[in-house]
Symmetry: C2
Subunit: 423 residues, 2 copies
């Protein structure tokens, strides 16, 4: 076990190079942000922009001798060979897609931190027994095709890869068609089997919450991920003329949506403010100002760290909506669920050792957000490194992390990778 930090490894992590690569990636899909200093990124998965970002990553990897491969879900891997090539690799990475109005750090930092860490390991002349593989999972965000984490779910065997074949993006394209187009565009990259048995998985990520910044901490040692359940509620009423139809005779899907959300707000009340209940997407049909809405579809994102709470509140949704509406037919579909996850002790311990050896302030904490890491837990020891982000903002152009915080996180990742790859 590598208890002490190798000084040459720490100094080999190049803060400036790392930041420049992040900013270069942020140009692929750049969108205006709240200020000229805060541009955002809109880089949906399986688009030409996503592919441009992947080619850039592959090229940077090739420069330092890493070999690329792609699996049937489009998950992309860059391999650093171990002294024992047959040993189970240590896996690190995250995702490269963003939310439609996303920022420059969510996901992409974890991938580029893996690249920078491996580059530093190689530059420091450190050999690892186990190979290290950097992974970019397909469609973590779920912004174009819902739900997110399709790549890691299929890779880990959580769901068969054909599960989402018929999911469509807002333009009506299916996930299957987008994936086939994508794989054809990457036909020159060697193909690898879907799935594997790594020795461990470590994912770096911005915190997406306010705690590290508020407490002046450098590193979050993530202990697990709260559970999530995603639902779509469809209310079907009757379209009528807004000027002629008396209100008592209407089956107004917008008004029934308001009744449903009022009732769901009561169902999801939590004095501790731990439960997360979000209606983030609403589609109205026909969606014209002078017609009573015939149909409304809205999403529910429900999260809680305790399985019992998630099950009880989530299972009550259909009944609560049915009791709340006045005239509409109700259909509630659960589109996704992931129960709360606790990481095995090995990876958090390695992260804790690395942070301590480098004199960084670290704390153990759960993740409020949803990550590819949760699907790796049944496959291998798993963990995550959080770094602070400004005001906890993410999924928005104002998302920001300081170069020195990102470099510190990358140094912890590099040390933890060496620790795990030689352990």
């Amino acid at each position: 076990m590598n208890d002490r930090v190798a000084p040459n490894l720490i100094s080999a992590v190049d803060e400036a190079r790392h930041w420049v690569r992040l900013m270069e990636m942020a140009e692929l899909g750049a969108i205006p942000g709240p200020t000229p200093e805060d541009p955002g990124v809109n880089r949906a998965c399986l688009t030409p922009l996503d592919r441009a970002a992947r080619r850039k990553l592959i090229a940077w990897g090739a420069e330092i001798g890493l070999t690329a491969s792609v699996d049937a879900m489009g998950n992309l891997f860059l391999r650093h060979e171990g002294t024992d090539p047959a040993a189970a690799p240590v896996l690190t990475g995250s995702h490269m897609d963003t939310q439609p109005n996303g920022g420059r750090f969510d996901g992409i930092w974890g991938v580029l931190a893996g690249l920078e860490a491996v580059q530093a390991i190689r530059a420091a002349g450190i050999a690892t027994k186990r190979p290290i593989e950097i992974v970019a999972w397909t469609n973590e965000e779920g912004g174009r095709f819902a739900p997110g984490c399709m790549g890691s779910m299929a890779w880990s065997g959580f769901a068969p890869p054909e599960t989402w074949d018929n999911v469509t993006d807002p333009d009506g394209m299916t996930f299957r068609a987008a994936l086939e187009e994508h794989l054809a565009a990457e036909a020159d990259i060697p193909r690898r089997p879907l799935g594997g048995r790594p020795h461990a998985y470590v994912e770096g990520h911005i915190e997406q919450g306010p705690r590290l910044e508020a407490e002046g901490l450098d590193i979050g040692i993530v202990t697990g991920i709260q559970g999530s359940r995603w639902f779509v509620v469809e209310l079907t009423g009757k379209s009528d003329h807004a000027g002629t139809t008396p209100l008592l005779l209407r089956q107004d899907a917008v008004q029934d949506m308001v009744r449903a959300i009022n009732a769901l707000n009561i169902l999801t009340q939590d004095p501790r403010d731990v439960l997360r209940f979000t209606v983030g997407r609403i589609e109205v049909s026909p969606n014209t100002s002078n017609s009573v809405a015939e149909r409304v579809r809205f999403t529910i994102d429900l999260r809680h760290p305790e399985k019992e709470v998630l099950l009880a509140r989530g299972d009550a949704i259909t009944g609560v909506v049915q009791a709340a509406v006045r005239g509409c037919k109700v259909a509630v579909t659960e589109r996704f669920h992931a129960m709360p996850t606790t990481f095995q002790p090995e990876v958090p311990a390695a992260i804790e050792r690395a942070a301590a050896a480098q004199g960084l302030k670290a704390a153990r904490m759960p993740s409020g957000a949803f990550h590819d890491a949760q699907f790796l837990v049944p496959v291998c020891p798993t963990g995550m490194i959080f770094v602070p982000c400004r005001k906890g903002v993410s999924h928005h152009p104002a998302e920001f992390a300081r170069p020195e915080h990102l470099a510190a996180g990358t140094r912890v990742l590099a040390a933890a990778l060496v620790d795990l790859a030689n352990g």
Copy 2:
């Protein structure tokens, strides 16, 4: 005054020809309906489909000797000459655009009834002192470019024609650009000045309400139109990660919309159920299931036959929304208003005489819906003929009117036109 009905005029109205023309028009923009017998129509204004419908109308008019002309708003006129060509014409018509998920009768019937009535007048050998002009007003529905009735508003001087230049359709095209494209496509049709001083205006329309059918009546003699006010409410909060941000720290635009609509439902309560309050259009941004909504825009359509009620409730909207929301900034914009309208006595009297002379069951009634006719009231004596429609449904593919009811309405229109044109 033509107190008695000319039998040859009545028999010259051809129910079958009239129905076939309606069905032929319904093919332009046909969409599936609830049953194969009830297809709908989606024919947005200033589109190639709209232009195809207009060309068809012009061709049918040309076959019977009517001359076409177009004004700067794209309003289309077909002229039947009078024995005194200098006399102020009698105007009749409606509109040819539909709602996005509209039916086969709303608007187009009033135009084709005008054509059928004029054809019958000519076939019966009846000369009229005054010319009769059939008009198809541009963009009555407001489905593509809001608000509706732009053509008649500009023609009557209610608003300058450039008022809506920068209004955009869902694809971002401006009304001005669409109108210019349209006028270029109709450059071969003679241009006429915008506006005029007709002797009278008569518009035929399906009732869009249940009363005529329920009471077994053939004809509605419309006495006036209730007033309308249209608003757009924009709520601006803050986008956050749905998994990490505590509910108490959010500025969730969807939740503030729900609070606002709850408060507006109280503001618009009416035990008599005469007031019409509709939220028909909602746009959420970024509209992804796992992001707290940063911005919501929703529309309000408020109608009432009494000016005082419309002013009091409408003027209270901004304050009520501001008091209801928790964290969002509020911007309320009034996009359109039209105070309640009472038709002058001349045209309703002519309709009443025609219906009585033909032995039809008729009743005086206000219009719940909004029509081009309301903008003609300051210009000339104005009136409307309503015919029954099934269950009062409109703005939907299930919209239906029986051929015999439409023919009866057309016969009343024909007699009223002769009455007014020779009066």
